[in-house]
């Protein structure tokens, strides 16, 4: 075994001892008596779990408020065991928390909870999404008419569409800090457009054909196909809205997917 391999193994053992049920097997690597060593390991464990919990709370404040501290912290702990962070940046931790909640038996009485989490993650991702240059509208104006139906539009990296069978936007709004948690609207299926504008994340509820159109554009469909998603519906206002709010940032013609 090389020195590097030996170090990697020792680090893996340390990680297992910190996060595992007990670190007794690791005690021989620790200075001082075993009891003191294990208590010091426990400090690491406590700090790591607290940091994970805080990262999730920062990304999912509405879910945390909806279920309360005890429930949230327990769910966060279980999630961390099932899906440990994949990297050192805890801002990226929580991408699968919504999926976890969807399958979490204790959340079964709140079938909308996972979708609220999806909306919060979309918000979180939108805030941190890369910048992109704005749409080159002059270039767009020069696209020959014959190529217009084949145009594929590129949405800004901060744009997300969250489609839910529940009134998730209403629930989200009701659980902002200045509200008492009572939704204005208790039914509906919300399709929520999420985007960043002037460094703020904004949310808007879309009508079903609007959502279908945005979804089609996001999937890279040509404009003619996206426009045909819903018959007898004029996509012009929605397209203009995307342009007006900086949600378009590029296009391609032909079969090439915009990059």
């Amino acid at each position: 075994m090389t020195v590097t391999e030996g170090l990697a193994r020792l680090q893996a053992q340390f990680a297992a001892a910190v996060l595992g049920e007990d670190g007794a097997g690791f005690a021989r690597h620790l200075a001082g008596d075993a009891g003191a060593g294990l208590r010091r390991l426990a400090i690491y464990r406590n700090a790591i779990l607290a940091n994970r919990r805080r990262a999730l709370r920062a990304a999912f404040p509405v879910v945390a408020r909806l279920v309360g501290d005890g429930f949230f912290d327990e769910a966060a702990l279980r999630y961390g065991e099932a899906c440990p962070p994949g990297g050192a940046d805890l801002n990226r931790y929580g991408a699968t928390f919504a999926a976890f909640l969807a399958a979490y038996p204790h959340a079964a009485a709140m079938p909308w909870l996972a979708d609220v989490a999806r909306l919060e993650w979309a918000w979180h991702e939108s805030l941190a999404a890369a910048d992109a240059p704005g749409m080159d509208f002059a270039a767009l104006s020069r696209v020959p008419e014959g190529e217009q139906p084949g145009l594929r539009l590129l949405l800004h990296p901060s744009v997300r569409l969250v489609r839910s069978a529940w009134p998730v936007l209403s629930i989200w709004e009701a659980n902002q800090p200045d509200r008492d948690g009572t939704p204005d609207r208790e039914d509906g299926a919300d399709d929520v457009l999420v985007w960043r504008e002037a460094q703020r994340v904004l949310l808007a509820r879309l009508a079903p054909p609007e959502a279908a159109f945005v979804d089609a554009v996001a999937r890279g469909l040509a404009l003619e196909e996206a426009a045909g998603i819903t018959d007898a519906w004029d996509f012009t206002p929605m397209l203009q809205r995307l342009a007006l709010h900086g949600m378009l940032c590029g296009f391609s013609t032909g079969d090439r997917v915009p990059a």
Binding site: R39, A58, L66, A109, G134, A138, A198, E224, G246
Partner: protein
């Protein structure tokens, strides 16, 4: 020209008009912060700038978290106000 293509043509013309008329606005919206304002994403989300460990009491001892009390499985937040009130989805 078929109606859909005519619609696409007019829609794009409208978008171009918006885009070319709004250059200043779109620059302000993305990338170029207003004068005197430093770009800082943390502003929009309180607490995100905190170092994860700065406020954490490292002196805390490990708790045995593996045998949770039942109350940790019962939601005690604002959702209790919504319990039984939200209507099941229609359609979708």
């Amino acid at each position: 020209m078929n109606p859909k293509r005519a619609l696409i043509r007019s829609a794009l013309a409208g978008v171009v008009a918006i885009g070319l008329g709004q250059v200043a606005v779109s620059n302000a919206a993305e990338g170029e912060p207003a004068a005197g304002k430093e770009k800082c994403y943390g502003i929009a989300k309180a607490g995100q700038n905190d170092c994860g460990t700065a406020t954490h009491a490292c002196a805390g001892l490990a708790r045995k978290d593996n045998a949770p009390d039942e109350w940790k499985y019962v939601a005690k937040g604002t959702c209790t106000k919504m319990g039984g009130k939200l209507n099941p989805p229609r359609g979708k």
